[in-house]
């Protein structure tokens, strides 16, 4: 049970300066768009998903995590040619689930973060598959091995990114 939260300190909510709430998602969207242009396989990484996850597991507040996920997801939809709401729905669900789980799991542990990111990356792909393939009737293939590779890549990048974002937060008791 090393991953379970065992003290009030571990479940204490973390807050961020307001500027960080605005700048970091925008930076994630911009870097995602820019780096995918210059690094051919960077589109495996989903920086907006990682930012959504980080806010959810550190805030541990499902309502705000849902809303943050929705806003970041719709903004990500804006850069694509898809209908607005596909990433919005998936990231809202991911935010809600991550925040609900963050109350029960020690999210300061790097191993827990790795597993959480791995699992939620796969969960997001599953939601997208449901939405696009079965709800909108658009072509969306599930390439199993490819999705696992993507989840692993996101998990490792997520651990590094979460450590960097930890530097910007302040703890509230």
């Amino acid at each position: 049970m090393a991953l379970m939260a065992s003290s009030r300190h571990e479940v204490g909510a973390k807050s961020f300066p307001l500027l960080i709430y605005i700048v970091v998602p925008l930076l994630a969207l911009g870097l995602q768009s820019l780096l995918s242009l210059h690094l051919s396989r960077f589109d495996l990484i989903d920086l907006p998903l990682l930012v959504t996850l980080y806010y959810a597991i550190t805030q541990r507040e499902p309502v705000s995590a849902t809303l943050v996920g929705m806003v970041i997801g719709i903004a990500q939809d804006g850069l694509t040619h898809h209908a607005l709401g596909i990433f919005g729905i998936s990231k809202a669900v991911i935010g809600y689930m991550a925040a609900s789980l963050g109350v029960r799991v020690d999210t300061e542990n790097h191993g827990a973060r790795l597993l959480l990111t791995f699992g939620f990356t796969l969960a997001q792909t599953a939601i997208l598959w449901l939405l696009q393939r079965h709800m909108l009737g658009q072509p969306f293939a599930w390439h199993g091995f490819h999705e696992v590779i993507r989840a692993v890549a996101n998990a490792f990048v997520g651990v590094i990114l979460f450590a960097l974002l930890d530097l910007t937060r302040r703890t509230e008791y």
Partner: protein
């Protein structure tokens, strides 16, 4: 009631958020043409997102381009001179090839005019920098730094010198979205160059373009060129698309998909051209280029062929340069040099064959007065009877058989024969 909302507040918020977005999705996909550019609120939201994200991207892109420009234009110039020489030689070679192609193009135009075929020519393009992508594998969309202010509209073809890239989709004031041909929702009419098989090109789920629902044909070979067919009313006909990579049979087994390797490197695009205007007449600039091509090719040909001009010859004997440039293929007639001393081989001094007498010997070695006044010697018929002043001719100066051979006439006494050159 209050306790219900407070107890299930999180779940209710999630349900409300999801419900609102599902309704929004339903409204968006219910449009007559879901692939058409967005309108209304969706367009506003997309415009806000693009407007927030693209300025930093433009700034970063411009900075990177500036640094690259300083490096390539002022520092990294080691092989420039050698490359310049090689490129000049290549340009000369291409001009020669272009001349023959230009003739084919003119012939094709004439035939198309005869058949009433409507060809589309590219009149005007706008160069644009690629500043970003959608950032996801599910959406093959590029962002370019030109928008409605630069004359861009929706559904305009986007190309590179190597091949087609896609078409514009949502156009904003300063930026535009380009839907790549590798996206699953894209579509382009294409034709295979050799087998002339037509089809529709779109991306597969891996992001590779493929021609879908093609009848199996053994003639389709790997490496065959794929061109735009012009049937989609977006891409002009004849633009390069890519090469056949492989043929994949569909699960049903009746039709095949032809996977295409795109000519343009879609994963490393920096600059693209947006075709903003096309027409059915060949543009004036292109016509001028065709005529210029002929002249330049003639110049190149004249330089490469051995010179017909003798640098040591007098000026009046040099070929007319203006005339040569106008028609290099016509060879001027060759005039024989003037003789220093007339002899009986000179064409103008040889008497006509009708005036020759069988057995009479002509002697033009002396001056014309002497030869006309001297009495003709009777033929001896002895071989080797040559005048002293006219020794036996060497093989090089041997008289031609037709000139020396007299015309067959009835035999006549020597006294009645007309003296040659007599008054």
């Amino acid at each position: 009631m209050e306790s219900f909302f407070s107890r299930y507040r999180n779940a209710l918020v999630l349900i409300a958020v999801l419900l609102a977005q599902v309704i929004g999705l339903a409204v968006q996909v219910r449009r007559p043409d879901p692939t058409a550019p967005d309108k209304g609120g969706v367009r506003v939201i997309r415009s806000w997102v693009v407007g927030v994200v693209t300025p930093p991207e433009m700034l970063l892109h411009a900075t990177g381009r500036g640094i690259r420009g300083v490096w390539t234009n002022y520092i990294d110039l080691i092989h420039t001179r050698r490359q310049n020489k090689e490129l000049k030689a290549e340009v000369d070679q291409l001009r020669l090839e272009e001349e023959s192609l230009a003739e084919d193009a003119r012939q094709g135009q004439r035939l198309q005019a005869l058949l009433g075929f409507k060809e589309k020519y590219v009149y005007q393009t706008v160069a644009a920098q690629v500043i970003g992508t959608s950032g996801t594998e599910q959406s093959h969309v590029l962002l370019i730094d030109k928008g409605s202010q630069d004359g861009i509209k929706s559904d305009m073809p986007v190309i590179t010198p190597d091949g087609i890239v896609g078409k514009t989709r949502d156009v904003f004031r300063h930026t535009s979205q380009v839907l790549e041909v590798s996206d699953v929702t894209s579509g382009a009419g294409v034709i295979l160059e050799k087998t002339r098989i037509r089809g529709v090109l779109r991306g597969d789920t891996w992001g590779q373009p493929e021609i879908v629902n093609v009848s199996p044909d053994e003639r389709i070979q790997r490496g065959e060129t794929v061109l735009t067919s012009g049937g989609d009313a977006i891409y002009p006909r004849g633009l390069a698309v890519g090469f056949v990579d492989r043929v994949v049979t569909q699960p049903e087994g009746t039709l095949v998909n032809v996977l295409v390797k795109p000519s343009a490197n879609l994963s490393r695009l920096e600059e693209v051209l947006v075709i903003t205007n096309t027409g059915e007449q060949m543009p004036a600039e292109m016509q001028q280029d065709l005529s210029d091509t002929q002249q330049k090719a003639s110049d190149v040909l004249a330089e490469k062929l051995p010179s017909r001009a003798d640098p040591n010859a007098p000026a009046d004997e040099q070929p007319d340069s203006e005339k040569d440039s106008a028609d290099a293929s016509v060879t001027p007639p060759v005039k024989p040099p003037q003789p220093l001393h007339p002899d009986h081989f000179t064409p103008s001094d040889t008497p006509p064959a009708a005036d020759l007498v069988p057995g009479q010997r002509t002697d033009n070695t002396q001056s014309g007065a002497n030869s006309s006044s001297a009495p003709p010697k009777p033929p001896t018929g002895t071989p080797g009877d040559f005048p002293q002043s006219n020794p036996p001719a060497s093989p090089a100066t041997k008289p031609p058989v037709a000139a020396a051979k007299p015309k067959p006439k009835p035999a006549a006494p020597p006294a009645q024969s007309t003296p040659q050159g007599g008054a």
